[in-house]
């Protein structure tokens, strides 16, 4: 067995209905080392959330076809039966969601929701579970934790609810924490608190973390590596510094240009024309070619392979070597 926490090889996820087949993930391969943070960056419909859910097999079982190889903490997730999956969920891999109000159960107190998870996975008594619940709320830095155990989700602010959800996700000490836009619904002042908390918890508990976001700034604060997703494929992946400093793929460059940061005021933002492709009818070659200013005939016959000028930083673009030269010049 290798030392990787996650191994995904040529992962495909399709949603099949009577009328159509939606190809949401089309051949994603990556490894995640223990204690590493990978950020999957993409826009709506790029397949980033579907990829994340595949790591817990949360996509609707009846309509979803998962193919390829996917191992998390030594468990084969593609072949796993529902019974095994529910053992894995929570104890090996756990997830926090964007909207804590819909992810938490409104009719149970926070304390009870944490206790429930612990009792399901571990052979401990109720008193021990309650003690752990209190410990977890203190771990995620909820003020007056003892009182909050008896609080219902609606009695808490957005930031506290998100902390409570993190506490539930961590209740069985998972090896891998998945986070689906956990700070998008929060204010900037609270967002940075939650990001720092996650970073600190990750170091304390030694977890791997996969973080899905559309916000480059969030990726810059928390990621070790970033993967940019477009039309169900990783179009670029690399260390966060290199990727933000010198993006290889035209789409990544477009995203960086379109994100408002320190551009001079009043200057027009660079935009990416057009819209992402329909995942029911993917183009044959590079899926970004129809929106790409640099597209040429060679982009169309086949999906470009991942290639890169330096190890660990690769992009699916036939011009990548050129870009490398450009930067050297």
């Amino acid at each position: 067995m290798t030392g990787n926490l996650v191994e995904a090889r040529d992962l495909h996820v399709r949603f099949v209905t009577r009328d159509a087949t939606v190809r949401a993930v089309n051949g994603v391969s990556f490894d995640l080392a223990p204690r590493e943070t990978l950020c999957i960056l993409g826009e709506s419909g790029s397949g980033k959330s579907v990829t994340l859910r595949a790591l817990m097999r949360l996509n609707p079982a009846k309509r979803t076809v998962v193919e390829g190889r996917l191992r998390v903490g030594g468990h084969d997730l593609v072949a796993a039966k529902e019974r095994t999956l529910s053992d894995i969920r929570g104890s090996v891999v756990s997830m926090i969601f964007q909207e804590p109000m819909t992810a938490l159960d409104p009719v149970f107190t926070i304390g009870r929701q944490i206790r429930e998870t612990i009792l399901r996975h571990e052979a401990v008594g109720r008193a021990e579970a309650d003690r752990r619940a209190l410990e977890l709320l203190e771990l995620v830095q909820i003020p007056s934790a003892r009182r909050r155990l008896d609080a219902y989700p609606h009695e808490m602010s957005g930031g506290l609810r998100q902390r409570a959800m993190i506490a539930i996700a961590l209740s069985c000490r998972p090896k891998l924490l998945l986070a689906d836009e956990p700070t998008t619904a929060l204010d900037a002042t609270v967002q940075i608190q939650i990001l720092l908390l996650l970073k600190q918890l990750q170091a304390e508990l030694g977890m791997g973390m996969i973080f899905v976001t559309h916000d480059l700034g969030v990726a810059g604060e928390i990621a070790d590596r970033v993967a940019v997703m477009y039309a169900g494929r990783f179009v670029e992946e690399g260390p966060v510094g290199a990727l933000m400093r010198a993006p290889l793929h035209p789409y990544t460059r477009g995203l960086l240009g379109a994100t408002v940061h320190d551009q001079p005021r009043g200057q027009r933002l660079t935009t990416i024309p057009g819209a992402p492709p329909n995942l029911e009818h993917l183009p044959r070659g590079c899926a970004f070619a129809p929106r790409c200013a640099l597209a040429e005939a060679a982009c169309l016959p086949a999906v470009p392979t991942l290639r890169g000028p330096e190890p660990g930083h690769r992009a699916r673009c036939i011009r990548v070597q050129e870009c490398g030269l450009e930067r050297a010049a």
Partner: protein, 353 residues
Amino acid sequence: MTDRSDDLQQIPDVGGPAQPLLSVRGLTRHFALKGGLFGGLGAPRAVVRAVDGISFDLRKGETLGIVGESGCGKSTTSRLIMALMRPTAGEIVFDGQTIGPGGLTLKEYRRQVQMVFQDSYASLNPRLTVGDSIAFAPQVHGMARQGANARARELLAAVGLEPNQFGGRYPHELSGGQRQRVNIARALALRPRLIILDEPVSALDKSVEAQVLNLLMDLKSDFGLTYLFISHDLGVVHHVSDRVLVMYLGQVAEIGPVDRIYAGAAHPYTAALLDSRPSMDPANRRTEPPLTGDPPNPIDPPSGCRFHPRCRFMEPPCSTTVPPLATAGPDHRAACLMALPGSGHSQAPAMAA
């Protein structure tokens, strides 16, 4: 410019360029909370002080950004200005004229002030084609159907949607970015002078957000508009605004030129807000959150300066003295005792002789 109703044009300037387009004076809105079963008897009802006495001027042709955390009252402020709800106190003066009896009627006022909301889907009628949605208001204001339709087509083109392709579609047939373009076109249909943009790009993807921001900047000069731009995204506000107003718990914390404030905020709250932005530089990550805790509850705001429990420069006078807006530089004011000469705070400037 003719005054025929078939030719709704922008209403000309009244008070000249020096007169603010919009003056807000002491605007206040409190929401009464329902008491418990017996709560209403005897005991005074709790109120949410959503907006608590804010005053500012909006100058002709500028973009004023309003920022703040959720619950600070920025959206309530926009709805009060749009006259979608009645203020508890205070008044709004539009180009020298009050709204209501003796001044502009609501119909006249809303012809000149329009709004774009965050949720592009909820703000369009799902049973009207987008062309009909845009043509609706001009017809209410007496424009003939044919003229209104022509205007709708012209506006669809102006916001970058091909009229033949999109005019007949329903909102659910469009993407989020396209729907937001339709909302902008609809807001322009009466040729308003002021557009209130309440988080217009918050629900959009980054690449679409950039397209819409570029469009808003183009339309502003093409149609001679003034913008009130509400957002929690400080990067976006920096990019589009001339001046920025920072709200905290229903009050103005700081107001001034955007470059001055982003270069050096006078209010510690503004500084902390700006500091909370992701750095976009992985080599230079933050290790300490600039502010801890969530925004406090507007039901029972702290005494004195409302920010003092979270402020790292807090001193005894802060919990007792309500800081007025003090001059912090040219055209720049902040509600902080550190900016007020002789306030008793150790970092306050010396009193002028």
